[in-house]
C-alpha cells in the first residue's frame, strides 16, 4: 500500500502550521491597532476651517488664555465662541473664503463644529485647572502647538503615558510664569526637579496614582 505521507507533504504540513500561527498573531495585532484613537497621533483631523495655532501663537503671540479662557479655573480649557474670533476677524481676512463658516455661524447663530483632537475616554476625568495650577506646561501634553499649522494630537494619551508623569512629575513641572510659554525649560537636574516638587507641594505623591484621581 502506498505511503500516505511522503516527505513533501510532511514538510508542507509543518510549514502550513507555522504560517497559520503567524497569520492569527498578525490578525490580532492589526485588530488591536484598529481600535486605537479616532485621529492618529501627529495627523491633523479635518476641521470646519483651517485654524493655525502656529500663526496665532508664534506669529501673533496671542496668549493661550485669550481663547481658552477656562484653562485656569475649570476642568475644561474652553473653546472660543465665534464672537471671540470675530473680535479680530470682523476686520481681518473678512472676505477670504476660508472664513466663510465663521461668518456664517455669526450670521445664522449656528455653532461651529470642531473635531476633537485630544480625545480621552469618558471615564477619565481630566482637569485642566488642576494641571495648570501645578505647573504642568501646555506643551507637555499638547506638544509644540506653536509649530502646528494644523492642530494634531501630540501624545499617545494612553494610560501608561499619563502614569509616566503621575508617577514622577518632577521632571515635567515649570514655574507658574512659564506654564503657557512654549519654550519653557523643564528642570534638568535632580535639584531643580525637587525644587519644583517642593514649590507645588506635591512631595507626597501617592494620591497622584490613585484610581480615584482620574476615574470616578
Amino acid at each position: 500500500m502506498a505511503q500516505v505521507f511522503d516527505r513533501g507533504l510532511v514538510l508542507a504540513l509543518k510549514i502550513g502550521t507555522l504560517v497559520a500561527i503567524a497569520l492569527t498573531a498578525t490578525l490580532l495585532v492589526s485588530w488591536r491597532w484598529s481600535i486605537d484613537y479616532p485621529n492618529a497621533q501627529g495627523a491633523p483631523p479635518q476641521q470646519p476651517l483651517p485654524f493655525s495655532h502656529q500663526h496665532h501663537v508664534r506669529d501673533d503671540g496671542i496668549d493661550c488664555r485669550y481663547c481658552h479662557s477656562g484653562v485656569e479655573k475649570s476642568a475644561f480649557a474652553g473653546m472660543p465662541g465665534s464672537n471671540v474670533c470675530l473680535t479680530c476677524h470682523s476686520q481681518l481676512f473678512r472676505d477670504s473664503p476660508a472664513f466663510a463658516p465663521l461668518h456664517a455661524s455669526a450670521r445664522t447663530g449656528r455653532r461651529l463644529q470642531w473635531t476633537r483632537v485630544n480625545d480621552l475616554p469618558d471615564f477619565v476625568y481630566f482637569d485642566h485647572s488642576a494641571h495648570v495650577s501645578h505647573g504642568v506646561p501646555c506643551k507637555e501634553c499638547h506638544g509644540r502647538i506653536d509649530q502646528m499649522p494644523l492642530t494634531a494630537r501630540a501624545r499617545s494619551l494612553e494610560m501608561q503615558w499619563c502614569l509616566s508623569c503621575h508617577r514622577n512629575p518632577g521632571g515635567h513641572l515649570v514655574s507658574p510664569a512659564a506654564v503657557f510659554d512654549m519654550n519653557a525649560q523643564l528642570p534638568a537636574s535632580r535639584a531643580e526637579r525637587r525644587a519644583q516638587l517642593a514649590h507645588y507641594d506635591v512631595l507626597s505623591r501617592k494620591w497622584l496614582t490613585d484610581c480615584s484621581t482620574c476615574h470616578r
Binding site: V4, F5, V10, L13, S156, E158, M159, Q160, L163
Partner: protein, 455 residues
C-alpha cells in the same frame, strides 16, 4: 485504597483466548468497521439539540447580560458557578484513574482510563466556559490574565479567581497532553488499519508519523510517565484552588478550612460516579463485557463508597465547626440549611450522597449493573445539589437580615445546565465513534505481561 482493589487484579485481565491481533481487532473495529446503530444516533440527536440550546442561551446571555439568570443581590453567584464547580469535580476521576492508578501500577485501570481521560478533558473544558459566561462583561475576560498592556495594570493576585485561571488552564493542558500522548500509538494503529484514504490521512495527521520503532516506544513511555507524574499533584491542587474561591471569602458557609480536602473528595466522588454513568452504557452497547468486566465496575463502586464517606465527613465537620467556633453567623447558616427555605435541597443531597451509596457495602449491589447505573446518576445529582447549596444557601442569608433574599432559577439557568450536559454527551458520543474508547496498546501490553507470568 490500592490495597482494597489489589485482589481484584485477577478477573480484570483480558480473557486468555485473546491474542494481540484480536485485541486490536476488537477495539479498532468499533471505530473502523462497526456501523453506528440507532441508539447512538438517538443519543447524538438529543445531545446535539441540547448543545444548540446551550449556544442560544449563551448568545442571549452575551446580548442581554447575567440578568437573564436568577442571580441578584445578595445571591450574586448562581448556577454558573455551581455548574463550574460540578464539572471540574467530574473532571477529576479521569486524571486520578490515569495518573495515580498508573503510578500505583493498578493494571485494571487500563480498560477504563482512555474514556475516563476523555471525560476529564470534556468536563474540564465545559467547566472552563462557565466562569467566562458568569462575568458581567465577558468580552474583558482576558483582564484576569497577566499580560503587558498600555494601562500598566496587572491582575489582583490576592484574588482566588486569578489562581483559578492558572489552576484550570494547567489542568486542561496537562490532561489534554496526557490523553493525546496515550492516543498516539492507537491513532497509528487506526491509520494503518483504515481502509479509506480520508481516514488514513486524518488519523495519520494526528498519529504524528508514529512508526512503532523501539525508540518511539521508549520515548513514549517515559513521556507518558512524566506527564502522569505532572498530573498527579493536579488532582489535588485544582479542586483545592477552586475551593478557595469560597474558603477565602468571609461569607458564613464559605469561610471554612475543611473546604480543600472536602472539595477534592467530592470531586473524586462525582468523578467516579460519572465514570460509571459512562462505562455502563459503553460496555452494554459496544459489547465490551470481556474488557470492562464486573470487577472494574465493582472497583469503581468501592472507590465511590470510600469517597462518599469522605464527603459525609465534610458535611459533619461543617456542622461541628459551626457550633464549635460559636460564631453566631456560622451557626445560623447551619440552622438555615437544616430548616431554612433551601432545606429540602440539603436533605435531598444527604440522601443522594450519604444514604443511598451505603448499599454498596453489599457485594451483590456492587455487581448489579443496572443498580450501579442508577446509583451513579443519583450521586451525580446529589453532588450538583451540594454545589448549588454551597453557592446559594450561604449567600442568601448572611450578616444583615435586611439584605436577606432568595434565589429563583430562571429558564435560562436550566438551559445552561442541561445544555452543558448535552454538549458533554455530544463530545463523548463523537469520541467513542471516532477514537478507540479503550487503549489498544495498553491492553496488548497487559496481555503480554500476563503471558510472561503464564510462561
Amino acid at each position: 485504597m490500592a490495597k482494597s482493589v489489589a485482589p481484584a487484579l485477577e478477573p480484570t485481565q483480558p480473557p486468555a483466548r485473546q491474542t494481540y491481533a484480536s485485541v486490536s481487532d476488537r477495539i479498532a473495529d468499533l471505530v473502523l468497521k462497526r456501523r453506528s446503530r440507532w441508539p447512538w444516533f438517538l443519543g447524538f440527536t438529543l445531545a446535539l439539540l441540547c448543545m444548540l440550546a446551550f449556544c442560544v442561551a449563551c448568545a442571549v446571555l452575551f446580548w442581554k447580560g447575567p440578568g437573564i439568570w436568577g442571580v441578584n443581590i445578595p445571591v450574586a453567584w448562581g448556577y454558573a458557578i455551581g455548574n463550574f464547580v460540578w464539572w471540574i469535580g467530574i473532571g477529576h476521576a479521569g486524571t486520578f484513574i490515569s495518573a495515580i492508578l498508573l503510578l500505583l501500577r493498578q493494571h485494571w485501570r487500563t480498560s477504563i482510563n482512555r474514556f475516563a481521560e476523555a471525560m476529564t478533558l470534556f468536563a474540564a473544558g465545559i467547566a472552563g466556559i462557565f466562569p467566562v459566561l458568569h462575568l458581567g462583561r465577558p468580552w474583558f475576560f482576558y483582564w484576569l490574565l497577566p499580560y503587558p498592556n498600555v494601562m500598566e495594570l496587572w491582575p489582583q493576585w490576592r484574588s482566588p479567581l486569578v489562581w483559578d485561571i492558572f489552576a484550570i488552564s494547567t489542568y486542561l493542558i496537562v490532561s489534554l497532553l496526557f490523553w493525546y500522548i496515550g492516543l498516539i500509538p492507537d491513532l497509528a494503529t487506526l491509520r494503518d488499519r483504515a481502509k479509506t484514504r480520508g481516514r488514513q490521512i486524518v488519523y495519520g495527521l494526528f498519529a504524528l508519523g508514529w512508526r512503532g520503532e523501539a525508540r518511539h516506544w521508549a520515548r513514549h513511555q517515559s513521556a507518558y510517565l512524566l506527564i502522569a507524574g505532572l498530573a498527579t499533584p493536579l488532582v489535588v491542587s485544582v479542586h483545592s484552588v477552586v475551593s478557595l474561591d469560597f474558603a477565602i471569602g468571609n461569607t458564613p458557609g464559605y469561610h471554612s478550612t475543611i473546604f480543600p480536602p472536602y472539595f477534592v473528595a467530592g470531586a473524586l466522588f462525582s468523578g467516579f460516579a460519572m465514570v460509571l454513568t459512562l462505562a455502563i452504557p459503553l460496555r452494554h452497547f459496544f459489547r465490551l463485557h470481556d474488557l470492562i468486566t464486573l470487577q472494574h465496575l465493582e472497583n469503581a463502586a468501592k472507590v465511590l463508597l470510600a469517597t462518599g464517606w469522605l464527603v459525609a465527613y465534610g458535611y459533619l465537620c461543617e456542622i461541628f465547626m459551626a457550633y464549635y467556633s460559636g460564631d453566631r453567623f456560622e451557626m445560623y447558616v447551619v440552622k438555615d440549611r437544616l430548616a431554612g427555605p433551601y432545606a429540602p435541597v440539603y436533605w435531598a443531597l444527604l440522601v443522594c450522597n450519604v444514604l443511598v451509596p451505603q448499599v454498596l457495602w453489599w457485594r451483590k449491589a456492587r455487581r448489579n449493573v443496572a443498580l450501579l447505573f442508577v446509583l451513579s446518576l443519583v450521586v451525580n445529582m446529589g453532588m450538583w445539589m451540594e454545589r448549588f447549596l454551597i453557592v446559594v444557601s450561604s449567600l442568601h442569608r448572611d450578616f444583615l437580615p435586611s439584605s436577606w433574599g432568595m434565589f429563583h432559577p430562571t429558564g435560562w439557568d436550566w438551559t445552561h445546565l442541561i445544555g452543558s450536559i448535552g454538549t458533554f454527551a455530544l463530545l463523548f458520543l463523537l469520541f467513542v465513534r471516532f477514537l478507540p474508547a479503550i487503549s489498544i496498546y495498553e491492553i496488548r501490553e497487559q496481555l503480554h505481561e500476563q503471558r510472561k507470568e503464564g510462561a
